[in-house]
Point group: C2
Chain length 674, copies 2
């Protein structure tokens, strides 16, 4: 399963770890890929794509200025786009995955250390045309977009408005005289801000604006707007567009700002699948509008969970391999320095990362299947399950991005100083994942949306009404009293649901008590939001524990005993880790005793020791190629120090022995002549 | 107290917040500065220094490549160094602070967004000469170092060795024939790695190497090594030196690598205050060696706690001011969008940051005073208190850097997408503070050092022996049984000590049980390290709670009632926050009841509401000038959106409407001609 094609020797410690692994690494790779055939296809595509000379940068991207990084990213995006169009589309395997599939995103990570400026063209512009345009409009825009004549992005967020979409200020006012919309940015805070590719790359943009017609505002709607000349790429008159400047990450995506000075677009540039403006300015709304927008939002959240799981797998791979290579200190006087992976504190930091990567991926796969059912239902007009699924996708997006970001930093910390090197790739992985915590729904806002659903569900349970599957536990636990405790995996999952029920119950009490003192429900809710966020977190944690455990059992039904054993160890580790992290909740809402707590801790420490010999095998099973991992610390061959030095020598500062600043400033300072 | 000298209007929301503040902001500034006179002097120095034209970069640093950033930093360092030398040394106020004082570090933050390449010259090179050289050696090196003829850094860490100093591989072998040391790097992993300024800037370097003489190794010792020619700046023959490449932060400090090929230095370049090599190669050791090295380590840790407190204060200032300006959503239908500072979840994220900045600063001031006592003792040969102080400084460094880093990220998250902009300055503040968690002693390693001390103290308590002050609580709590609970501040502090005692006790039991099964003490210790880290954290948390509470009381004895009230609210908030965060520990080790927990939560929420009207006043009281804060979101005038746009327009990508990559790649792709 080695992806290392070179002749270099593999680090001896890593080789020994691999020889001692208890299971066949390929078996877990197949499980995670969803079957051996998927793995074979993926690897074929990777072999085919990643040999391209495009991959190697003579000067590492992180040594460039943001402008140079952008220019390099445009070059690579175009060549990558051409590669996908010319070659991969002919490649049989793509049928399995589809052009927007995760395999392509995986490969793209090898091309772009940060992100492609064209990402939102295929990721948002084209899908929104598919989702929001009439058939007639699609036939106009889709061919031009797919052949890359029209390159677009999606601009919704404004300088002064993000989460609260109803607060957007950009206006699109219909003028029946000319049958045009007039787009306008009335204030500085109404400037569009953030859209990827908007700054310098795209020539079109989907703009979300407040639709005004016949003196009335009908709320926000999407419009297709040409912003640059197709021949010269100059911004069109009435358009103010530019790049928003450096960010923590995403520095190769030229996120942009956009303002309109009474800029006119044809009536038919409104995306009219869900609402229309007739020639005379009459507004016609179709009722499926809101539901379908919901659907897109859920789809994106599912994708986000999948992506952060993959990025956490990258971080875990880097940190575990490095920990097998790095030696430090002595456990007993005179003994040789042990691999740092042999320290229990290091195992405590890292094995939860492997388990969480599995947990999030299996939960996102499960979500994907569940969601497919929902989509079919919606198409047939049945939208009952949408609120539940929306609540679930909201909290899963919030918790998975937050957990993954924290654990990726934990991986970086576990690599000591070397984790701070950009060439470890851990800082870039973090900068990407921490952004997912905010975009497409901020952590706190999403958990409060879930909490809203949970409180409603609680009230239904109280009223004796039936509940949808993911909250059915509330029926069981809505009465006061502690959940019974048993220390099996099933018992821990049950207790986690009991904790969630207990916390939701406490919120209900808190709100009702506040209402009794004369507060409005809204004020009482607002004052309880700290607890509501925690309750939604507890609910989500219980669902992840439950789904991870049951999916791991289901997937390994036909596995070899050793694979079943190690997968079982990981799920048990995850459950114990979170039981111990939330021991205060368990003590409050379950019958767990002090002896049980001590036993949980002991069992957790035993699990670390059991997993230790398989740790390298487990990260190898993620099967992330060196080109995608892009890390001096995490490469398959474990030649950590050689790679660190090689990367250092590429720094432009090392191209000349003496930097000009010596002659200009340092020497005059030394000689007192400055 | 406004530092905004311009004519621009202050944002109306911020102006109203300031008008409604319950206390005189200056009073808290004086408290934090250690008295009104200190504030006056600091502000004089700031006024004097920060008007310099040096401060303004036409192109923001984050738009440059790392190489360009470095060159700009050398320019500024030299001009800043000249400013300090020429003008500030004549300035009366500096006597109060000393040339290495924190006020200068504060000002330096306005000059360098990251760090000066000369930082370690004054920060490590000069102090090590003072601490490790004989008087004769000092008279040779100090004048040249202070006049900047000799520019140096400190190189200890190697590519393959950090924490475990005994494992360093670089050798210094004495040759009595020529009375020289031969420095050598026997392996790639023995290359020095990380020293700031080493890559391109310095001409000298203190090198820590294994001293060999007469066929025997005497462990690591420091040597002064010239590495570059003073005239040409070329690396000298036998020296391999360069820059280590891009990092998460510190990108203006040219951290470097350094290898020796049998490089010779004179005998007298060994720093000989604590150990000497005679001409014939005889090794002579003076016994104070180890103790003084201890002292330097502690000194640096105290400085680190002070620095992270200041950086957390910066982040809190940025996030609180932004939260007063930003408006979002609606609490009740039809109402105007509230300031996001009015959301309880936002208060929950931010007010703990203000309290923690106070807690860490007051604790570091207290440490400073305590340490001064210790230094005097050591000079008189009394070193009994050193182990306690070392254990305390270790855990405080670990916990304060870790807490500050987490809370700075929390501030960034609380600013939504705009916190992700480099111009918010929050990413850079984080990149700086997260490094402090690793350097000068990694988090886990330091907590385990503290744990070692705590277990010994526990055994002494058990044996009925007297304990030093910071662990005297163990005498009280070393028997089993829960600590009584009362919800006053004193009660919570007591319970925190009880928790620490309970966790240390559990570790002792765990280790002893493991020894009973036949394990060696070292193995039993090793298997218990996850719990030991948690116990050391609990000990440190109790000390911070205790010191913060008592210092705040002491400092506000003569304050006005309103200042006393708000400072009291903040300490109470801190205690409640941590009681709730560690509620599982309290339930296990104290007599706290479910009703008490509910009451704690309610009190905590009430405190948020009480602090809310004073939040802006509290961050204004940190009195961090705009030039030092360097943030579009956090400036005193609150003109957030204007500043975001102004900064964006400085991006070099915006200097031309069409980037060349359009003609080179995008247009050919659009036209199918790529």
């Amino acid at each position: 399963m080695s992806d290392n094609k070179g002749v270099r020797r593999v680090n001896e410690d890593l080789a020994r770890e691999r020889a001692n692994c208890s299971f066949d690494v390929r078996e877990i790779t197949f499980l995670l890929d969803g079957g051996e055939n998927n793995t074979i296809t993926r690897k074929k595509i990777e072999d085919f794509t990643l040999t391209d000379e495009l991959l190697s940068d003579k000067v590492p991207d992180e040594c460039l200025s943001p402008k140079e990084k952008y220019e390099n990213a445009v070059r690579k995006s175009c060549l990558f786009g051409k590669l996908v169009k010319d070659k991969l589309l002919e490649f049989g395997g793509l049928e399995t995955f589809g052009p927007n599939s995760f395999v392509l995103r995986r490969i793209a990570d090898a091309f772009f250390k940060e992100i492609s400026p064209l990402l939102l063209h295929l990721g948002m512009f084209v899908p929104t045309i598919l989702g929001q345009c009439t058939a007639e409009q699609q036939s106009e825009w889709l061919p031009r977009a797919l052949s890359m004549q029209v390159i677009g992005t999606y601009a919704q967020t404004e300088l002064g408005h993000g989460t609260f979409i109803r607060g957007l200020e950009t206006t699109a006012t219909y003028d029946p005289e000319t049958e045009e919309f007039v787009l306008h940015s009335p204030t500085l805070s109404s400037f569009k801000w953030w859209a990827g590719g908007l700054g310098k790359t795209v020539n079109h943009c989907i703009v979300v604006a407040q639709l005004h017609t016949k003196g009335q505002c009908h709320g926000t709607h999407p419009f297709i707007v040409q912003i640059r000349d197709l021949e010269t790429h100059q911004p069109l008159p009435g358009i103010k567009v530019g790049e928003i400047g450096p960010k923590l990450g995403f520095n190769t995506a030229d996120n942009g700002f956009l303002g309109f000075d009474k800029y006119r677009i044809p009536r038919m540039n409104m995306m009219m699948k869900n609402a229309q403006i007739l020639k005379d300015g009459t507004y016609v709304k179709l009722d499926r509008h809101g539901k379908m927008t919901y659907g897109t939002m859920v789809f994106i959240r599912v994708m986000v969970v999948n992506e952060v799981a993959f990025n956490l797998a990258k971080a875990a791979t880097i940190a575990v391999r490095y920990s097998a290579v790095r030696r430090q200190s002595e456990k007993k006087p005179g003994e040789p320095e042990p691999q740092i992976l042999d320290y229990v504190t290091q195992q405590h930091k890292l094995f939860i990362c492997i388990a969480t990567a599995h947990a999030l991926q299996l939960t996102s796969d499960w979500l994907w299947r569940t969601f497919s059912g929902v989509v079919t239902d919606i198409k047939h007009g049945k939208t009952d399950s949408l609120p539940e699924f929306h609540a679930l996708s909201s909290c899963l997006k919030a918790i998975s991005t937050s957990d993954a970001a924290l654990l990726i930093e934990q991986c970086r910390h576990s690599c000591g100083g070397h984790g701070y090197m950009m060439s470890s790739n851990l800082p870039l992985i973090y900068s990407f994942v921490t952004a997912t915590r905010t975009y497409e729904g901020d952590y706190t806002v999403l958990l409060l949306q879930t909490a809203r659903f949970l409180i409603k569900a609680w009230e239904q349970a109280e009223a004796g009404k039936p509940l949808t599957p993911t909250v059915s536990y509330l029926t069981k636990y809505f009465k006061d009293g502690r959940v019974p405790w048993d220390s099996t995996s099933e018992g821990i999952v049950n207790a986690a649901y009991g904790v969630a029920a207990g916390k939701i119950s406490a919120c209900v009490k808190s709100i009702r008590n506040r209402v009794k003192t004369g507060l409005s429900y809204e004020d009482a809710w607002d004052l309880t939001t700290v607890q509501l966020v925690a309750a939604a977190e507890a609910h989500c944690r219980a669902v992840i524990c439950d789904v991870y455990r049951s999916e791991a059992v289901r997937l390994t039904e036909k596995s070899s005993p050793n694979v079943r054993a190690v997968m079982r160890q990981l799920t048990t580790l995850y459950l114990h880790y979170w039981a111990l992290e939330r021991i205060g909740d368990l003590l409050r809402y379950s019958a767990v005793s002090e002896e049980d707590v001590v036993a949980l801790q002991q069992k957790y420490e035993e699990l670390l020791a059991l997993i230790r010999p398989d740790a390298v095998g487990l990260v190898d099973a993620f099967d992330i190629r060196d080109e995608i991992l892009n890390s001096t610390l995490g490469a398959y061959d474990g030649r950590v120090y050689e790679r660190l030095m090689e990367e250092a020598l590429k720094s432009p500062l090392n191209a000349e022995p003496v930097n000009r600043s010596f002659h200009m400033y340092l020497k005059p300072l030394m000689q007192g002549k400055l």
